[in-house]
C-alpha cells in the first residue's frame, strides 16, 4: 500500500483533547483514534464522516493547527506532526487549507487585494512591484473579475468569497490543499462552479487534495479514493469506483442508503437498504469493542468486546474495512 512517491502519509494518528476531570480520572475526547492513510500527488482523497467523526481534526492536524497526541504525519517523507509555530516557513508554503465558511475565513476589514497579497509578502513569492499582477493572475485562475480586487468580502456573494479563499490558498503554489467542507455552506449551483474550478486547478497545477466532507455523493464525482470515518477511526477506505460499487462496511451501507437521491439510477447504488438507526455516540464515551456496535444491525457478541482491525478486501490492499463480519469471510 505504501509507495515511495506518496506526498502525504498519515500513520496511526491520534488526537485526544482533555476534558474535565471526573474524580481522579482524567477524561479525553478521542477525536482521532488511530487513523492511517496516504495521498499521492495529483490525487483527491475524500475523507467523509458525520459530525463528531473527527474528520476536521485530521485536517487541522495536517495543517498544523493542532499537534497530534501520537502517530506520525509525513509530508514528502518528512515528519510534520507539529504545531504551526514549530513549522519552518517553507513548509507552510506547501500545505494550504480552504475552510468551510468563506464568511468567516476572510477578514471583513481587508480587501480582496490585501487578502491575496498577504501570502506573496510572507513567502516573498515575487517582487513587490509585481504583486498587483500576481493578484490579478490569481483572480484569473478562479475566474473572479478584476472589479472585485479592491472590494471588501462583504460586497461579494458566498461563492465568490470561497473563490477568494481558494485563490489565497493557491498563491503560495502549494502541493497539498486541505479542503475542509469548502462547499457545504453554499447552494448546489454555486457548489458546482467551485467544484469544477477546483478540479480544473488540480489538473493544471498537479495539486493533491485532502477533501473533508459529509457529502458522499459529492465524493463520488470528485475523489479518486474515499475514506469513511466513524468516531475517530476509518471504517472503510477504497478507490472511488470500488467504494461505491461494492461498499462492505455496515456503516458505509447505512450512510449510502440514507442519502436522498434524485434518480432511479442512483437508487441502484444503495441496494441493501440498511435502515438508519440510533445516533453517533459522544466521542468522550466511545463504546467498547467496535465503536459502531450501538447502531450496527449485524452486531455480534464479539463486536461488543473486540475492536476489529482493518482487513484488506482486494489483492492490492487498496480496499480496507474494519469489521468482524469481513474478517470471517476473508
Amino acid at each position: 500500500m505504501k509507495s515511495g512517491n506518496d506526498i502525504l502519509v498519515v500513520e496511526d494518528l491520534k488526537k485526544y483533547f482533555p476534558v474535565k476531570t471526573k474524580g481522579k480520572q482524567e477524561l479525553f475526547v478521542k477525536a482521532i483514534d488511530g487513523v492511517s492513510f496516504s495521498l499521492k500527488p495529483g490525487e483527491t482523497l475524500g475523507l467523509v464522516g458525520e459530525s463528531g467523526s473527527g474528520k476536521s481534526t485530521v485536517a487541522y492536524d495536517v495543517v498544523g493547527m493542532y499537534s497530534p497526541t501520537s502517530g506520525s504525519i509525513r509530508f514528502k517523507g518528512r515528519e510534520i506532526g507539529m504545531l504551526l509555530r514549530e513549522r519552518p516557513l517553507p513548509l507552510k508554503k506547501e500545505i494550504q487549507i480552504v475552510f468551510q465558511d468563506p464568511g468567516t475565513s476572510l477578514n471583513p476589514k481587508r480587501t480582496v487585494y490585501k487578502i491575496l497579497e498577504l501570502p506573496l509578502r510572507i513567502h516573498k513569492i515575487c517582487e513587490p512591484k509585481d504583486y498587483v499582477k500576481y493578484v490579478a493572475r490569481l483572480m484569473d485562475l478562479v475566474e473572479l473579475p478584476y472589479e472585485y480586487m479592491f472590494k471588501y468580502p462583504s460586497a461579494l456573494g458566498g461563492g465568490e468569497r470561497q473563490m477568494v479563499a481558494i485563490a489565497r490558498a493557491l498563491a503560495t503554489n502549494p502541493q497539498l490543499i486541505v479542503l475542509d467542507e469548502p462547499t457545504s455552506a453554499l447552494d448546489v449551483s454555486v457548489q458546482a462552479k467551485i467544484i469544477n474550478t477546483l478540479l480544473r486547478l488540480q489538473k493544471e497545477m498537479n495539486l493533491s487534495y485532502l477533501f473533508i466532507t459529509h457529502d458522499l455523493s459529492l465524493m463520488r464525482n470528485v475523489a479518486s479514493r474515499v475514506a469513511i470515518m466513524y468516531l475517530g477511526k476509518i471504517a472503510e477506505i477504497a478507490p472511488t469506483e470500488d467504494f461505491f460499487r461494492s461498499p462492505r462496511h455496515p456503516y458505509t451501507k447505512m450512510l449510502l442508503s440514507s442519502i436522498p437521491v434524485v434518480s432511479p439510477e442512483e437508487e441502484k447504488y444503495r441496494p441493501e437498504r440498511i435502515e438508519s438507526r440510533g445516533e453517533i455516540p459522544s466521542p468522550v464515551n466511545v463504546p467498547a469493542g467496535c465503536s459502531f456496535n450501538t447502531r450496527c444491525p449485524f452486531a455480534m457478541e464479539r463486536c461488543l468486546k473486540e475492536d476489529p482491525v482493518p482487513v484488506a478486501l482486494d489483492a492490492e490492499g487498496l480496499h480496507m474495512a474494519r469489521c468482524h463480519l469481513l474478517e470471517m469471510r476473508g
Binding site: 514528502k76 518528512r78 519552518p88 517553507p90 494550504q96 487549507i97 490579478a136 493572475r137 472589479e147 503554489n173
Partner: protein, 304 residues
C-alpha cells in the same frame, strides 16, 4: 524542502484591465454611511463649529481683553444684552468671550487626555488579549482592574494636592484613571477575534504575530475604539469641568467652563446667566461628541 517551479505565470496579465485603487471612493462610502445617521451629522457640525471657534478665537471673540484678569465693576453682573450676548460676570467681563476662550481648555483637556492614553491602553489591550491566559496578560489585566477601582475624582484631587492644581495635572489625573478602559475594550475585542477563522487562515499562511495583531485584529477593533474615544472626549470634558468647578483645573484668571459655573452658582437665581451659559456650553460640547460617536460606530461597521 525543494519547491516546485511556480506554476503561476504572470506574464499574460493584462494590466490595463486592473481597476485603480480608488481611495476617494472609500472615503465617499464612509461618509455616506456616516451621513445616514442624521443626528451624528448634527453632532459633527456642532463639534466642528466649537473647534473652529476655539482655534480662531482671536478673530471672533467680541472682547479679547475680557479673557484675562480684567476688572470693570461698572459693568459687573449685567444681564444679556446686544453688547454682551451672554451678559457679564461679577468682574464685569463678557461671558461669551470667556466661554469661547474656555472651549480651548475644555477641548484640550478632553481630547488630549484621551489621545495621550489611547496608544498605551490599546497596546496593553492587544498584548493582554493576544497572550490571553499567560502571565503577562494576567498582570496587565489585574493592574488595569486596580486602576479602574480608583475613584477618578479622588485620584485627581490627590494628584492636584501633591502637585499644584493646573490644567496639565488635571489631564494627567484623567489619563491615569482612564487608560484601563481602553485596555479592557481592546482586550475583549482581541480575545473574541483571536479565534476567528480568518486569523487561523493567516496563521496557516505563515503570518507573524505583528501582522496578525496590527493588520488583522486591530482594524476590527478600530470601530469600537473610535466610537468609545469620541464618547470619552465628552466624558473627559465633563470630568475636566467638574475638576475646575471644585478649583482643581485651570487656574484663574484664565477662564474655564467649570470654574465659571462654579463662580456663577453663587449668583443664582437672580443673575442666572452667569452659571447657565457656561453650563449650556459644557452641555453642548458633550452632546456634540455623544451624537458624533454614534455615527462613527455606524460608519465603521461592515454592513454594506
Amino acid at each position: 524542502m525543494e519547491s516546485c517551479p511556480n506554476k503561476i505565470d504572470i506574464s499574460q496579465v493584462d494590466v490595463s484591465r486592473i481597476p485603480r485603487r480608488n481611495a476617494g471612493e472609500n472615503i465617499r462610502k464612509l461618509w455616506y454611511k456616516f451621513s445616514l445617521n442624521r443626528v451624528s451629522v448634527v453632532g459633527l457640525a456642532l463639534i466642528l463649529l466649537i473647534a473652529a471657534a476655539a482655534i480662531f478665537y482671536r478673530s471672533i471673540v467680541p472682547y479679547p481683553e475680557h479673557i484675562g484678569a480684567m476688572v470693570d465693576f461698572k459693568n459687573a453682573c449685567m444681564p444679556p444684552s446686544w453688547q454682551h450676548l451672554c451678559g457679564t460676570d461679577q468682574a464685569g467681563r463678557d461671558i461669551l468671550s470667556r466661554i469661547i476662550y474656555a472651549f480651548r481648555g475644555a477641548l484640550t483637556m478632553g481630547v488630549v487626555a484621551i489621545l495621550a492614553i489611547l496608544p498605551l491602553g490599546g497596546v496593553l489591550g492587544l498584548v493582554a488579549g493576544y497572550w490571553n491566559g499567560r502571565f503577562v496578560s494576567n498582570l496587565i489585566m489585574r493592574v488595569a482592574d486596580v486602576f479602574l477601582s480608583l475613584p477618578t475624582l479622588i485620584l485627581v484631587m490627590c494628584v492636584s494636592s501633591i502637585m499644584t492644581p493646573s490644567t496639565r495635572n488635571a489631564m494627567l489625573a484623567i489619563s491615569i484613571s482612564w487608560w484601563p478602559w481602553y485596555t479592557r475594550l481592546v482586550y475583549g475585542i482581541v480575545t473574541s477575534t483571536r479565534n476567528e477563522v480568518y486569523i487561523r487562515s493567516a496563521e496557516v499562511l505563515g503570518a507573524n504575530v505583528w501582522h496578525i495583531l496590527l493588520k488583522e485584529i486591530l482594524p476590527n477593533a478600530l470601530g469600537p475604539i473610535l466610537t468609545k474615544m469620541t464618547l470619552d472626549f465628552g466624558v473627559a470634558i465633563l470630568a475636566g469641568a467638574t475638576l475646575s468647578f471644585v478649583g482643581m483645573g485651570e487656574q484663574p484668571p484664565a477662564p474655564s467652563l467649570g470654574a465659571m459655573v462654579s463662580a456663577g452658582v453663587g449668583y443664582l437665581p437672580d443673575q442666572w446667566w452667569m452659571a447657565v451659559f457656561p453650563a449650556l456650553a459644557i452641555m453642548l460640547i458633550v452632546l456634540g461628541f455623544n451624537l458624533l460617536g454614534d455615527g462613527i460606530g455606524d460608519m465603521l461597521s461592515d454592513a454594506e
